[in-house]
Symmetry: C2
Amino acid sequence: MININLIGAGNLAHHLFRGIYNSEGVKLQQWYSRDKKRLSAFSSKTGIIHDLKALQQADLTILAVSDDAIGELSSALPFDDQLVVHTSGSVSIHELDKKHRRGVFYPLQTFSKDVDVDFSHVPFCLEILEKEDLILLKKVCEAIGSPYYKINTEQRQTLHLAAVFVNNFTNQLYRIGHEITDIKNINFDILKPLILETAKKVQEVSPYMAQTGPAKRYDKKTIKRHLKLLDNPLHKELYELLTQSIQQTHGRKKL
Amino acid sequence: MININLIGAGNLAHHLFRGIYNSEGVKLQQWYSRDKKRLSAFSSKTGIIHDLKALQQADLTILAVSDDAIGELSSALPFDDQLVVHTSGSVSIHELDKKHRRGVFYPLQTFSKDVDVDFSHVPFCLEILEKEDLILLKKVCEAIGSPYYKINTEQRQTLHLAAVFVNNFTNQLYRIGHEITDIKNINFDILKPLILETAKKVQEVSPYMAQTGPAKRYDKKTIKRHLKLLDNPLHKELYELLTQSIQQTHGRKKL
């Protein structure tokens, strides 16, 4: 049985709680939140604490807290030489207090507040300083049913950047789709199957192979008409830049 | 029974063939392709023709051809006063020869060559000039199991533009994610669950509500670090512009 401490009461911490609580081979020993009210509903399921001094040693202590809080909280843990990991995509492993055995346990996924997470769709990016700590982190992933990948700091920070493109920026393109259809009284539902299919396609084929459309075809007539339809200057600029990017990727072969 | 003629031998035509062939209440009467070899495999299933003059009247004739070919092909059909529709997102209904009853039958979806389409995920945008033709197009959608929406020309052209954003441009963001991870020897598979989840999320909540990340948080430190990680000037420009667009959408409330 792997004993785990959980620090933090945000979105990710709640999902990790459920993942651990519902899995065999891992046990949530204690769950810390500064706020005294937030975790009271869980007191029958694990040891809820609001004072870090009450935290006991565990096989693994997970800091599921904001980037800025990682360093300070790791120093405040009342033990040393234990495995302590943070869950951030961008913070260095060295921000963890060096009195601990340190690691990163970064879930590359987006979490919704009220939607249960299927952990088989949450890949964990693992980073450690000591080889033997990897074994334990892998066991935790296996227990909760998640895929895992050992990566280094540079790779993790690149993944975090790539995640901004495929998640935040993609979502903003959905938003623009919503905006421009809304103005014309068009039901956004019409676009939803296309959004889903576009994401499904690249599960099987590369984004390079999946590309279609006026930019790739160098269809100047359609591109011009589309630009004319766009009112928001920022949307126009984005249309032009993304068209340029597609054409950079799919450059015409010289004849 | 609704008799249908299909014109064209491309990707969409093949999917429409399967959709019609596998449904009750609709029957593929004849299928035309200029190229004599392309449809030979289907000759036991429908009347394959390579000469437009051999085309007979039908309840519906679907032109699933490239935008540029619509006008000329509609004129070349050897009958008039029949319902003839094109399947383009951007071509005017009036490019169809006015000797016909004219309509648009635009499927808002991306089609892959070798992947069977589930027509329940293909919304059809219907446009007609005469009210009674709408009834027939709706019946065809119902027969093949597709949702449908009656829209006007301006709405269809806006949808086509929105589709470029949520499909082609989104796919290019996936491509950029692939590129920047590939350089660092990171398996693109790690990003696939996130891509799918991002698309799934907006099936339920609006893209506005679904947004997260450094741009929305005005997290200058992370944004600066990300920009530093990007080598390709076009990727940098896109990062900045999409960040700006997110911040335009999620403007900080004045204090």
